[in-house]
Symmetry: C2
Subunit: 253 residues, 2 copies
DNA sequence: GGCAGAACAAGAGCAGTGCTCTCGTCTGTG
DNA sequence: CACAGACGAGAGCACTGCTCTTGTTCTGCC
């Protein structure tokens, strides 16, 4: 409980972080399947068995990386949410979606870890569910704020099957937001669809099909915003570029 | 070239098939990461090295399974396409999407193989691209036939960025179909989004969020059809159930 | 302040993996 | 009939995740 007590704990925290860092580096280089405890230990100058003092097994290390990845992509989305103009929901929506895409393209292996096939026989432990929902919550926040500002057109998806509406209402109740069930349902669908778009691009399914990736993504995402019912005050101009940002500067030759 | 020549070849084909079958069985049981050449060989009563006469390495075996999986899901989609009423594009669209979802739910590990994280360091070989596009082609066929029958409303996505339109036109030219660029672009997006929906359900991302999976999926898919511009002659009734099919009978207690 | 006990690193070892190489055997074909 | 190629078996290599044992270092409590 005293100050000295922190010595070992701090050493432990530092070593744990070092292990995760090195693991993340190997993950980025080789992918999850090739991540080797022994290689991590070797690179850190320790013996493989010592590593088990910090992580009970390989899956646990992977879980830690998964949580970190969820948090990273979630934080990116939240940052984009906070930075974008609150009064222009469509642009805000696009900003969040773009952030997700950018992060995924920059960290394909970590993205694969969280939105690819689940690893071996392992089911995502409880610790991952909260970080996993951050992107979804950011998207919901866009709709919530839009509605509060009267910028949510609710005409779009008028009716929705009863069972779907119940799920939607249960979700909004749990999150304590006030959204009509059709909007919520469309939002959840758009959430999944967003990751469909991103996943196809990251995993190369768009090769030889879509070349103008950025424009295509923006266009698709604008369509999703429209389906959800987001409006930027004036109607119609959902596809133009409000805040042009360099997005991906072309790499120098 | 004579009949006798087939003896060895047939034995080879049979053994190859047996290997793939057993591998598929292990895949379904344990997932791709746990698929072991030695275990396959063991189960088949041969020694591991003998297996290398049929597949040069593990990745090659996986590739074979990937191609098979693409073909299986593609064939399912095509079967649904052929079975559904040609004059009701929305229902046809839904039939194809449902087929994809059903197959994915029935073969989660194989689905993960083709639409999850790409395995180790390996990039999908050329042999996979044709089978991989079969579902997409089925979706395009729905739109193509709908347009031919005058059941494609082209008003929806009117304008599309130039670069996106160029990609779209290049694609339609390559496939030799006649579709307006905005429709093609929306179609490609819907293709990716469909797999976003399916993937989220298969990989458990909808846990504790969406309970009425089937209804939710149908609803989302109807929205996609609408975005593409498909119509069933009469307008509006895109969400009702035309051909009710038992889909997934509830499991007994 | 000293000491029991926990935390830790190191090493050996086990069972498993993908893959290679060698060595007999069988077989279809010139 | 003879021979080249296909084939199966086995040993072996380098690697993996993980466990257990041994010796050392640190830490909180009496």
């Amino acid at each position: 409980m005293n100050a000295i007590r922190g010595v070992r704990e701090r050493a432990r925290a530092e070593i744990t972080a070092a292990i995760k860092d090195e693991a993340r580096r190997q993950l980025a280089r080789e992918g999850a399947a090739r991540l080797s405890l022994r290689a991590v230990a070797r690179e850190l100058g320790m013996v493989s068995s010592a590593l088990y003092r910090y992580f009970p097994n390989r899956d646990e290390l992977l879980t830690a990386l998964i949580v970190d990845a969820y948090d990273a992509i979630g934080a990116t989305a939240e940052r984009a949410l906070a930075a974008a103009d609150r009064d222009r929901p469509v642009i805000r929506w696009r900003a969040v979606c773009r952030a997700v895409r950018q992060w995924a393209l920059a960290h394909p292996h970590e993205y694969a870890l969280i939105h690819g096939s689940p690893v071996p026989g392992y089911s995502a432990p409880q610790a991952t569910v909260a970080p996993a929902s951050r992107v979804g919550l950011a998207l919901i926040a866009v709709a919530r704020d839009a509605r509060a500002a009267g910028l949510l057109r609710e005409s779009a998806a008028t009716s929705v099957p009863r069972a779907v509406a119940e799920d939607a209402d249960r979700l909004t109740a749990r999150l304590d937001v006030d959204l009509p069930a059709p909007v919520t349902a469309t939002l959840v669908a758009a959430w999944a669809e967003l990751f469909g778009l991103v996943g196809f691009e990251v995993f190369g399914q768009f090769n030889r099909v879509v070349e103008a990736r950025e424009e295509f993504f923006d266009h698709a995402v604008a369509r999703l915003a429209e389906a959800v019912g987001l409006t930027d005050g004036d109607v119609g101009l959902t596809d133009g570029d409000g805040e042009r940002e360099p997005a991906t500067p072309p790499p120098g030759p």
